[in-house]
Symmetry: C2
């Protein structure tokens, strides 16, 4: 990548935190967001990393995101809570929701937390990892602004709507799935458009409903779901569970991060968390997970694979590598970040 520089992840994290601190967030909250954005970079998910900082700051400036939300948690039953995000940064709202879901599951075995009045929460893997770190299984759902059509439609209606899930491991790594409902993440189309790169065929339609490989046209058009009608149905499920069910916006009404700065998003999330020792003791659960991973990795391989990895394992390895090598940041993104640094009176990132 021409013009790409490597930034130590700690440096990038502190820089991002400082920007959000100057934008009015509490220092602890700003540090969480710095950590989370760089965590996405480390997992190789640059589409959900620091390239989004200017957009998040713009939304804070316009007042459609609340820098100091009073996030409220209301217990509806001993196993169910409702979180009202008060239009705060989705990262903060979702971490609070996951914390509550873990607490409920710890007390009664399972926790269901519905979230409304939230905003874009970055990479879903953040909250799945939060549950895994605490030793819990989780399902993490969110809705999002319209990006893909319903099955049979040609305009954006459902969100790209990541669906995520995690199962903690034993000695071997567990399972961490974080997948967009699109064949390609919308953020990756945006990055391709920035770099003038094309996208593969079959992933998107342009505004008129025609197939396109032009990333800019695709970003203004519509992504297609992965797996045809099955992906489309899963994306619909995300909006029903996170929007209709929770009381958040739904059915095409979630505002765009990029095109709609007029009002808060009222995004919804749904988290379901379970204790791993509900049906077998914890040590047996760990042994069973290890056995599963061992068997999976021993399967005869298809071409051209030279190894079988668990979902989440390639990203973990990427993170280990990037912690050593530094996080690659493109010249375009650096230039945007310089602009934000100048505007907020923060020292520009040192190019090393």
């Amino acid at each position: 990548m021409t013009g790409t520089v490597r930034i130590p992840h700690g440096t990038l994290q502190a820089f991002a935190a400082e920007l959000f601190g100057r934008a009015g967030l509490r220092p602890h909250d700003a540090a969480v967001i710095g950590h989370d954005l760089v965590a996405a970079e480390l997992r190789g998910l640059a589409s959900h990393g620091v390239s989004r900082i200017p957009m998040y700051l713009e939304r804070l400036r316009r007042g459609v995101v609340n820098p100091r939300p009073a996030i409220s948690v209301t217990k509806m039953t001993p196993a169910v809570s409702l979180v009202d995000g008060d239009d705060g940064m989705g990262f903060l709202v979702a971490h609070e929701a996951m914390k509550e879901a873990i607490a409920l599951a710890g007390a009664i075995g399972i926790g269901l937390v519905g979230v409304r009045r939230s905003t874009h929460f970055g990479m879903s893997a953040l909250y799945v990892q939060q549950a895994i770190d605490a030793g819990y299984l989780s399902l993490v759902f969110t809705n999002s602004s319209p990006a893909i059509p319903v099955w049979g439609g040609r305009t954006a209606f459902l969100g790209a709507a990541p669906m995520a899930a995690g199962v903690p491991g034993g000695r071997a790594p567990g399972f961490l799935l974080d997948m967009a409902m699109t064949g390609i993440a919308r953020g990756k189309i945006r990055l391709a458009a920035r770099h003038g790169a094309p996208i593969e065929p079959g992933l998107a339609l342009d505004k008129s409903g025609a197939p396109t490989t032009d990333a800019a046209a695709a970003f203004e058009g519509v992504c297609l779901p992965f797996g045809g009608h099955k992906g489309a149905a899963l994306a619909m499920l995300m909006d029903l569970l996170c929007g209709v069910f929770t009381g958040a916006s739904f059915g095409g009404a979630v505002g765009s991060l990029y095109f709609d700065h007029g009002a808060p998003q009222n995004l919804g999330h749904l988290m379901i968390v379970a204790r791993r020792d509900l049906f077998v003791p914890a040590d047996e659960f760990e042994r069973r997970m290890d056995t599963f991973v061992e068997r999976a990795k021993a399967c005869p391989r298809a071409q051209p694979f030279d190894e079988i990895q668990m979902p989440g394992e390639p990203e973990d390895r990427k993170a280990t590598a990037l912690r050593a090598e530094g996080v690659p940041v493109s010249a375009e993104v650096l230039s945007d970040l310089d602009g934000e640094a100048d505007r907020l009176g923060v020292a520009r990132l040192h190019r090393g």
Copy 2:
């Protein structure tokens, strides 16, 4: 379809129930299975209908399925129960598990039920519909005998593993998703093989790991997941949640329905059920669902669609039609059913 006859659904249902009754099931249980198999036929899912009767009866005869199980329900917490299916027919075990999940959710908002020592439970839509009929949201997961490879593998390891979910509607129909993790259901490959019909390319590998369109070779080989690595990861999640987590068989150890008559399957299921009025009142939930459906159906259409339907709606319409027209049953399946009728001393199906 040459040699296909139409049988009134009530006739078919009573016939199936009689067979299972003669095979040693309690009359009520036999009636449930008759109903459920014909419900699959009515939804157009012949692969999960009466064509499976000879296989189910064979497993009962061989003693790997218990005709009169003592299904036990153990409350682990006020929100979580464990169901032990005692190797009974999966239909009976899963209905009992869903009944318990609904009871838990009714009392405390959400119910999680893990199931082990179950067997093949037919079409997942049965249990989602049970929840919808009671006015509840549900996720219904199961594992199954090895049918698809892990991502990067070339042998069957994970189940075709249907994933299903439901959301009750308001005045308009709600949402009912029941999808196999394969690009094509294993049962559909089996039916194609019976009829000597080919399958589409890209759906399966033969035993050697080579792509095939020969249904018989595919049935002995491996189905590919839908949506590439995303479908493969979802299939793995089904086995982790339904096998590793619940204490059932997992990781390739679930016995095949067709090739392994040596031992009970020890299949696992997981059901998560929630009350619809947890975050908004029930009438508001219904209005929101109706609004969603209205908006989805009003989306501009892609070619060649002349209508946008909710997941589950085509199957509902099919059922309405087949209730009027009768259920199509092929000559091959009829002949198999005649054989079972003769063996058990039940009157053959009248051809009308």
